[in-house]
Symmetry: C2
Subunit: 230 residues, 2 copies
């Protein structure tokens, strides 16, 4: 991947849309490229590290863990999403861990480059501010969902969101070929694996979806959205 490729990628990410070509070039020339095998850790909660990553290809999960082994998945991301913004912005330790769920290629920008970019090109600042704002909004919504919705509601909402982003239309239905196990799905909604499996089955019984091995075929998105509404 050449710097020109990086520039094209960065221009796609929500962070740097509508960035002037000079600003884009400034960033692209200082970007580094990394690749990770399936299952590889990109960084760990508590680590030092100040890079921001933009996904060129692959699938990444962002998660936190508790001292007694529990895990919670905060987000699943694919190209052209970005992550690692927090440490890049404030220089403090990673607030969560990142793992490549599929073979993944990343473009990395370090803190110095980013701050430099912010100072030289105000549009970069705008992009970063919008990105952090979006992040804060998403987490806020996740927090209130944990309080206001029951497990089935949270699962319905999560599936509906995944369907919109990752779904492959197939007639009326939407096929979700997620690289996620039910355990990981459970960690996304803050529930146990067993309960998620059970809810999935009730959704199937009600005709909202079909579970086919690792695939979930959503047959009634409307109903799912309704079930996940507050």
């Amino acid at each position: 991947m050449t710097p020109a490729d990086s520039a094209g990628l960065l221009a796609n990410s929500a962070l740097f849309v509508e960035l002037a070509p000079t600003a884009l070039e400034f960033l692209a020339q200082r970007a580094t490229r990394l690749s990770y095998d399936r299952g590889r850790t990109i960084f760990r909660q508590g680590d030092a590290g100040d890079s921001l990553f933009v996904i060129a290809e692959g699938f990444v999960k962002i998660w936190v863990s508790s001292s007694d082994g529990g895990e919670m998945v905060l987000a699943t991301l694919r190209s052209p999403d970005a992550f690692g913004e927090l440490s890049a912005v404030d220089g403090r330790p990673r607030s969560a861990s990142a793992t490549a769920v599929e073979p993944t290629m990343l473009v990395a920008l370090d803190r110095a480059t980013l701050l430099d970019g912010v100072h030289r090109h105000p549009d970069v600042a705008d992009g970063m501010l919008r990105a952090l704002g979006g992040l804060a909004r998403r987490i806020t919504e996740q927090t209130s969902d944990l309080v206001f919705l029951d497990l089935a509601g949270r699962l319905a909402k999560t599936l509906a969101t995944l369907a919109e982003r990752d779904g492959r239309p197939d007639g009326d239905a939407i096929v979700l070929a997620l690289p996620l196990t039910q355990t990981e799905l459970a960690e996304m909604v803050g529930g146990s694996r067993q309960s998620v499996n059970q809810v999935l089955k009730t959704f199937e019984a009600r005709g909202f979806l079909e579970v086919r091995g690792r695939e979930v075929v959503i047959t009634d998105l409307e109903a799912l959205v309704r079930r996940g509404a507050r």
Copy 2:
């Protein structure tokens, strides 16, 4: 309150520490001042509005509500804390509501001023980025607490945090004279009023604290912190 007073206040807030005098003046001259009676709504979730507020005096709670009447308190703030950053940064509707819990005076900066400031004074951009980063970190922690900690753990942690910020030392103990009802305390930790009351009593029985009407006297902060650790 004069623009000079505003400048002094803004300089105190975490947002604009170490800001050059010229940048500070730029903001202070464009700031407006507002006051709210106890119980007054500052803005509501879903409203249009693009101002950022810095608290000059008083006590503000930030909260979200569900369609069926539930409420969750995301944060309680006092001088020189700031809020409303999200809409100020991205121009989208308010992600939460803000209410003055005590008589409150605010200094307001609107989106146009802020973006202008970001472009003219890179240090303003730094401050905003740090502020949003801190916000995202706090909410992330709150989310994982909701998943990993039980009600008693969340309450212990919340009380410990409040003690650090709002506590008045009294010998070995720390007196918390919160303008919060137990219902509001429950909304802060995502529990019911009755359960919070019950947990409070078990903490009292174990000698962690004493409940004296609206006041909570923390006698064993260490124990509380331990109970709230993951």
